[in-house]
Symmetry: C2
Amino acid sequence: MSREIPYKIYLEENEMPKQWYNVRADMKKKPAPLLNPATGKPMTAEELGVVFCDELVQQELDDTTAYIDIPQEIRDFYKMYRPSPLVRAYCLEKKLDTPAKIYYKFEGNNTSGSHKLNSAIAQAYYAKKQGLKGVTTETGAGQWGTALSMACAYLDLDCKVYMVKVSYEQKPFRREVMRTYGASVTPSPSTTTEVGKRILEAHPGTTGSLGCAISEAVEVATTNEGYRYVLGSVLNQVLLHQSIIGLESKTAMDKYGIKPDMIIGCAGGGSNLGGLVSPFMGEKLRGEADYEFIAVEPASCPSFTRGRYLYDFCDTGMICPLAKMYTLGSGFIPSANHAGGLRFHGMSSTLSELYDQGLMSARAVEQTEVFAAAEEFARVEGILPAPESSHAIKVAIDEALKCKETGEEKTILFGLTGTGYFDMTAYQKFNDGEMTDYIPTDEDLEAGFAGIPKIPGIQ
Amino acid sequence: MSREIPYKIYLEENEMPKQWYNVRADMKKKPAPLLNPATGKPMTAEELGVVFCDELVQQELDDTTAYIDIPQEIRDFYKMYRPSPLVRAYCLEKKLDTPAKIYYKFEGNNTSGSHKLNSAIAQAYYAKKQGLKGVTTETGAGQWGTALSMACAYLDLDCKVYMVKVSYEQKPFRREVMRTYGASVTPSPSTTTEVGKRILEAHPGTTGSLGCAISEAVEVATTNEGYRYVLGSVLNQVLLHQSIIGLESKTAMDKYGIKPDMIIGCAGGGSNLGGLVSPFMGEKLRGEADYEFIAVEPASCPSFTRGRYLYDFCDTGMICPLAKMYTLGSGFIPSANHAGGLRFHGMSSTLSELYDQGLMSARAVEQTEVFAAAEEFARVEGILPAPESSHAIKVAIDEALKCKETGEEKTILFGLTGTGYFDMTAYQKFNDGEMTDYIPTDEDLEAGFAGIPKIPGIQ
């Protein structure tokens, strides 16, 4: 097999991006603004500043500046684990016997095990710069909490993580990684907050939910001097920071004269997919190039493929601003899909708008076929992928097999967001043949949609 | 801080070593040969060929060829996860406020999580080339078993792992990684072998030991057509394959004109340390350069610092050949130190001979200070180190702090052999302040030494 392209393309330090790319700047029709649920009016910087750091609020609201400088301190941190490799999947191609050329951008080579660190360090940096004492957040599967605790340890910033109680108990190793990095980790719901106490009174014995953990983290941030709340996905600022993934990918591909035909990423809240596609989507928006973009989501939580494009709450506690997005309703409870990072009822407003404009397609896949793809990938490519990332692997393999049938030599790029070391319970279920699939019925979805708020004059 | 040297030095694919380096070729006094315990005479290639693959037997016995070609197939596999980065520990230096320059060679960026994969792929390759059906091995902590299962999956070779029962039960995730890569994993002792049955009869309810698992794996290899036994450390062939670590390190340092003053590695059976120091030791042996080499071992299993240099069995079952090495006696049972990869009673014959000639020094460190160093390192450098690797970190930090006192700008290189994702139970103990130290008494050691065999005419 010819090897003009190395297995792994690493950029030199001086080739690493010095600016993030803000895809909203090139969108003619912008993503809809966040709304204040009390007034139905767009959230102001002042209102957002109660919850988020000032500079991050600016980034959240800025939909016209295309390139934003990455502060030197963040670039120094990036150099500790970036550039991440762009890998040519020679072994997978051979195994599939496909004429397709498959590349993946691997974001798992850092202790947090995923791309989440790209935004965690940025958000922690701006908190530090603002002179804050610390930040609060929630975590479900644990990747985001781990990434944030690493960033805070590096910057000597306090980090309070509210971890969904069921994960806290079932994933003690994730919890210990965060503690090793100095974070305080509280199982949610807890008695450390008013909202936690209320929930515990109403639902004694509850094992918690992401929505509840968000509510607790926001309460702690807004009631403690010197704290702000940070979030690992969905927001525009997160997509901005994550654009480093796409920018590095594009630079590496340009260096070797490679142009992808299709770009595939898993989609939960959109942090990875948005980051990966951003610079390529920019070219498409500016009419400079064309690419096919595919968002892959779990069939058990199909925001894009079966959701509605409406204003909805980002949290089940309904205390956060309203975002216009593809949503299953903030009361939709996804089944226990093992890809915890994709179990979110909504989707980034930016990606939702791009999808709505037909600039991107989406596919829903079931988890047993996802784990089968993960295992096939692991055995030939070596890397043990996270269940979330494996959604993208599944569709990349599907597309490569189509090329085998048609003889097309398509170039496929997909995002391998992280590693599955802390997901072995799920792999064990798969290995033991005990994994099942679940697709919500139309009735399940209707029940979720019923919770989407009616906003006078808007929807 | 000046940044002429990048955070991470990656070699280009064409700069990667094409040959392994065999340090024995440059030793005037060679390591002592393996002896047949029945005859007291050196093991012949024929005798070794019953247990090991033919080409590996040749490598084991060859103490004169300095450079041995790495087959193209193995080099292709190496390219999937190598070159591993040589990292300048800028953040650790800053934290310690030391004039020392600290570098580490990080071998954890692959799914096995350690350097073990470097030899696993080589041993699996030669087994495949010999037309074998599969290989057998034992694993304790699990790094080696994981690495071997990955290599076998890649080459489509059967892989039977005997995993010490207590680890099998306490480390289900490690077990599942191996199963995901298609290996069969059997808790040892088991009823699948004669020796396992005998042990279970004699010690019902035993949780197993590495020595017992070796015995089972060897029995399966020697009684099944088309199988051979493979081992992840101690042997000369393993040090040969692991020389890739030192060769890459040296190439990367040479590229930037860096010369280390001291080279530090953790030492269990010697696979990582031997590989890291080999090319540097070669220069020292040939009188071309001088370096200080420091082996770091756990105080609970102090083969170098308190052991005896004698012929001993490598396994507690006393069925393997005798090796001359620094040993605590094959009956020595190390306390439950969390660095499972360093709990071996003996040491590579090659390293033992180099140590005996005064070409290398050794230090024993206690595990609580090791975990404190690990945590300090993790918080500034990001990487969560394996307990084994952290032994080297501890001494590197000690040496850097000495430089702070003296003002010396020493250049320190240490081996960061792997990641600690599957060691969070140990980190939890440390985080909870429940970790204790254990140093064997002289009486404990005497009991171990009493088991070292008397060999007429030899010792």
